[in-house]
Amino acid sequence: MTKKPKEIVGQVFLNIFFIVLCFITLVPILYALSVSFSNQNGLLSSDFSFIPKDFTFANYKEVLFGEDIMTWFGNTILLAVATVGLSLTVAVPAAYCFSRRRFPGRKAIIKCLILLNSFPAILSMFAIYRLLRPLGLINNRLGLIIVYVGTMSVFSLWNTKGYFDTIPTALEESAQIDGANTFQIVIKIVLPLARPSIIVTALMVLIYVWNEYIYATTFMTGEKTYTLAAGLNSLQATEMQGSWPVFAAASIVVSLPVLIIFFLCQKYMTSGLTAGGVKG
């Protein structure tokens, strides 16, 4: 009983510590949020507060109704849907074969893939440029889709294969006895069971496309073909140019979908990120 006051003090301190910590952590985001609602002129005055001065929606209006950003948004959605769709279409049959079939070269290929995948994607850029240019795939959405699917394909293959390995084969065997062919087995039995890994793979590919800016700016020239990431990059406010409030508003708009997806699927995230390269 004598311990109680000390415990309460400890608890209060712990909570204060975490409140301060959370606040400090969120400062860059809160500041951007506050600026995004501020009138341009209000910013130059030096008293700063986290409550926007001269509250306005003008920056969001400019972001949402300015033509460019909507074009970039459309480009990103198109790229993301195509990349995710293609990634899964390509990865699932391959993952199924590598998980269920035994054939010569299987183990060697798996080992090589993991090894070769450690080559940082950014260092491949020059070679890929030289490969795609003669094919007319530079400044072409299809080119960028191929690059994205290819870059993520080792991850997609590995992640889905790893999960397929954990599904018992008994169901598939009995379906086979009942006369189902492989295609039916994959669609009707394996895929529904593998839903968590399919979701994680799709999300990872989606977030990758959403966040990728280096290939998007190097391979696509001209503002009309930019993705959101590339466009945001060009909107950056520097000392010389650009509007910081508009940039802040655009940042918030671009981040929102990712934030929503992240917090909806949080329970899958940790496993999805670690499962990839580990189970060697």
């Binding site: 860059p28 450690s118 940082p120 080792v154 917090f263």
Partner: protein, 297 residues
């Protein structure tokens, strides 16, 4: 015998789209880069480049003023500093989060996850403008308020290194806290009770119970993080080295150094040689980790 051939053929057929894409986007660039690394391709020799053997490798590894070795050293220091800070801070925060008296832990955890959930490049650009910028940056507004002169945070090597480290920690800590927190929750509480009965204080409990128990659980995530830290590009590039708005800092990780040599200096032969050296380093690292992991089993 015939059935086996059929299975092999079918498997390769169904895997071919995936393997073909991997071949084009992952495998081809490595071989092409290896080839270019043996040539003198650069801005003066775009089409008429010739094979010059291992000169580029020699330049990278034995000529100190070519910059690669100092970038490599900086990258190793960068990885060490970041990993140590990350593990220590994440461990302390996860311990505090696991305090049974903390009722709001879920709430705090959700807030602390934000830096991980935000798109990385957006966060980095927000830090660059919102925090470090000389005009609108919070840090400089604070300096002005305190009556100090504004400071170009990203313009010299050391302060750029510190700023990059802060941003990298901000981005990476949530994942590490999550991993360590998850591992701590899997520890059987009775271990602590026994340790307490034996009279162990909290340092001893951490040293003899917590750390050895969570070590194998967090090892894969830590190894992955070591690699991503070593291969860090976005933080350093976006904060200090962006084409057209360089801040004047000379701090490079090996990846930004390779990028700079290829796309800014157009020195493709040399940059390719660096890429291959980085690749070999990464393979050697992962082989070492793997051997160690198998040895531990």
């Amino acid at each position: 015998m015939k059935k086996k051939t059929k299975i092999t053929l079918k498997s390769y057929l169904w895997s071919s789209p995936s393997l073909l894409l991997i071949g084009l986007i992952v495998v081809f660039p490595i071989f092409y880069t290896a080839y270019i690394s043996m040539t003198n391709m650069n801005v003066y020799h775009w089409f008429d480049y010739t094979v010059i053997g291992f000169d580029n490798y020699f330049k990278a590894l034995f000529m100190f003023d070519s910059g690669f070795l100092s970038a490599l050293l900086a990258t190793i220091i960068w990885t060490l500093v970041n990993m140590i800070l990350q593990l220590v801070i994440a461990y302390v925060l996860a311990t505090l989060l696991n305090n049974p008296k903390l009722k709001l832990r879920r709430f705090y955890k959700t807030l602390l996850m934000f830096p991980w959930a935000m798109p990385g490049y957006v966060s980095i650009l927000l830090w660059k403008t919102g925090m470090f910028n000389t005009e609108f940056g919070l840090l400089n507004q604070l300096m002005t308020k305190l009556g100090l002169a504004t400071y170009h945070w990203l313009s010299n090597d050391l302060s750029a290194f510190i700023c990059c480290t802060i941003v990298n920690l901000w981005l990476a800590l949530p994942f590490m806290i999550m991993i360590i927190d998850g591992a701590m929750q899997s520890i059987d509480k009775s271990y602590y009770e026994v340790a307490k009965l034996e009279g162990a204080n909290w340092i001893q409990r951490a040293y003899y119970v917590t750390v050895p128990t969570i070590k194998p659980i967090i090892a894969p995530a830590v190894i992955i993080t070591i690699f991503t830290t070593f291969k860090q590009f976005d933080v350093v590039y976006l904060l200090t080295q962006q084409a057209g708005s360089k801040t004047g800092s000379g701090f490079h990780t090996i990846l930004t150094f390779a990028y700079e040599n290829a796309f800014i200096a157009s020195n493709y032969g040399y940059s390719s040689a660096i890429s291959i050296i980085i690749f070999i380093l990464l393979i050697v690292f992962s082989a070492t980790f793997k051997l160690k992991e198998e040895g531990d089993r």
